[in-house]
Amino acid sequence: MANLKSSLNLRDKGAEYWERSPKWRRVALSIFFIAICYALPFLNNPLINTPGSDFQSVLFYPVGMYVLMAIGLNIVVGKSGLLDLGYVAFFAIGAYTMAILGTKTALNFWEILPIGVGLAMLSGVLLGTPTLRLRGDYLAIVTLGFGEIVRIFAVNTDSIGGSRGIAGIPTPPDFFNAKFTILDPKPYYWLLLTFTLLIIWMVRRMAARRPGRAWDAIRQDDDVAQLMGINTRKYKVWAFVLGAAVAGVGGVVYASQILSIVPDQFNLNISILILACVVFGGIGNVWGVILGAVLLAFTPERIRFLSQPRILVFGIALVVMMNLRPDGILPKKKREHFDPDWHTVEESGEGEIK
């Protein structure tokens, strides 16, 4: 039985195949998968089509957006073990930066993007510095509060539209042949995908180096991490700030696609759903998190034909799933190396891609 189970363990099989592959094959596989991702909007497969909503739009939001944000939240929750229940706040800050600067100044998308990311990071520092001395549940409550504060602040501030939000957000300027219009979600999807790939690449680099080890140590034993000379405060704030930056990117792109935003789009549900993506997919493992986000974003759209009961069905599926695989679909598992000659961190499966 145990033998059967291990032979069916596709994750380990896949990881082993990857590790044994020579560099050219890894590059070829990477290019192949990335190409599929870019070609997704052209697929017209009845299995993955979403009756009731436009498939290409679904790819951008929620699927692409959830994947991006789940990767960002995974830095905070998965890598450094900080429970953040107010992640949507950074998404909102990115989106509002795009909306305000886009409608009130002549700046275009590409100029606003770094400002939006910068503001999200700054708010990460401002929230993180005082609160990250808290642990576990206390931190969760404070971040939960922060998420709500940002939304309620937006509702009550008339100069940024109050509860009516902001309309008429400009689209990004044309990029070579890609025209960003409300009618065509494809360029937005490609833009988001490009950002996502870039972020995955950065996250994997960090995970294999000193910050990754520091986060591992903090997550496992905060006290010992300090006694081993890790400035735990600094690395926790960094995790927060990097997570915030990713959500900021998402917010800016989202606002430029949806053209009008209202505060209620940035409610607690988003924070919880993104966290669910991380936990459901496999906390700490970037591929698991991506899979979780894809499934959690896509399934409710796919079963839209069920109309009213679909959220109930979705909920039941979640509960069943978490009972069957409490660590997520693709849990993080460091395969051990018994080979005495093994001695590079780079090869531990957390190394660089491409």
């Binding site: 960090m206 000193r210 000379g229 960094w238 051990e336 531990s348």
Partner: protein
């Protein structure tokens, strides 16, 4: 003659009404192995916690290489050059043995998050150097073959050795070992004593908490004895062995002649 690496000056540590340490004075000299012994609950681990900044002493001063380190953050104390192991093994169990040690070696690296993202030359250089140092230390502790295994899956003895390797990786001026031989069989204890001597001979200063008298008498240059939070003796192994207060602390007061 030899300079003092660490000085505890009149350290008192109170937890509410309990006095864990009472006016303790202790000097650790450069290049020696000092054993800190005493019955259970004497306050030995509390001394370690005060030195490493886990506790702030109620009164008194901790002077490390001529400077007071009371109130300094724990990670900075480690950077200054004090590293420790733990009585109850506290490894990063989900990380590999190698990663555990590299984490310790990271202390003196200059590159951080930004360097890692952009793969700066300094980051690459430091990663490489720390990896090499970690492997060297695993080899030194005789557990190189465990490099790729998770900390929690190592056999008990190797976990203790790994903790020492991780502490050594921070390149400490003073190494604190909290009962490194706990649970070892006699043969392992002999091997450990050799290792501790090797560590000293490599230029490290060692402060050691231990219960096993034969191990202590075998390795230590000096012995300090704590009893109920008070230092009752301090000297060479022979001096301490013959000190009546030490005998009393361990064996009880002799009954009055009656």
């Amino acid at each position: 003659m030899s300079e003092n690496v660490l000085e505890l000056k009149n350290i008192t540590m109170k937890f509410g009404g309990v006095t864990a340490l009472n006016e303790v004075n202790l000097v650790v000299k450069k290049g020696e192995i000092l054993a800190l012994i005493g019955p259970n609950g004497a306050g030995k681990t509390t001394v370690f916690n005060v030195i490493t900044g886990v506790y702030k002493p109620t009164s008194g001063d901790v002077v490390f290489q001529g400077e007071s380190i009371v109130g300094i953050k724990r990670f900075k104390i480690t950077k200054l050059g004090i590293a420790r192991t733990f009585q109850n093994i506290r490894l990063f169990g989900e990380s590999t043995a190698l990663e555990n040690v590299v984490t310790g070696a990271d202390v003196h690296s200059k590159s951080g998050v930004v360097g890692a993202i952009f793969g700066t030359p300094r980051s690459r250089r430091e990663e490489k150097a720390n990896l090499a140092r970690a492997l060297e230390l695993l080899d030194f502790m005789g557990i190189k073959k465990r490099a790729g295994q998770l900390g929690k899956n190592l056999p008990y003895g190797d976990q203790r050795r790994l903790e020492i390797a991780r502490a050594l990786a921070t390149n400490p001026k003073l190494l604190l070992l909290d009962e490194p031989a706990a649970g070892f069989n006699p043969a392992e204890k002999v091997a450990l004593a050799e290792t501790i001597k090797k560590i000293r001979d490599a230029g490290y200063t060692v402060l050691l908490i231990e219960h096993d008298m034969s191990l202590i008498m075998g390795v230590s240059d000096r012995v300090a004895v704590l009893d109920f939070g008070t230092k009752i003796a301090d000297g060479t192994t022979t001096e301490v062995q013959n000190d009546p207060r030490v005998i009393e602390a361990y064996l009880g007061a002799p009954a009055d002649a009656s």
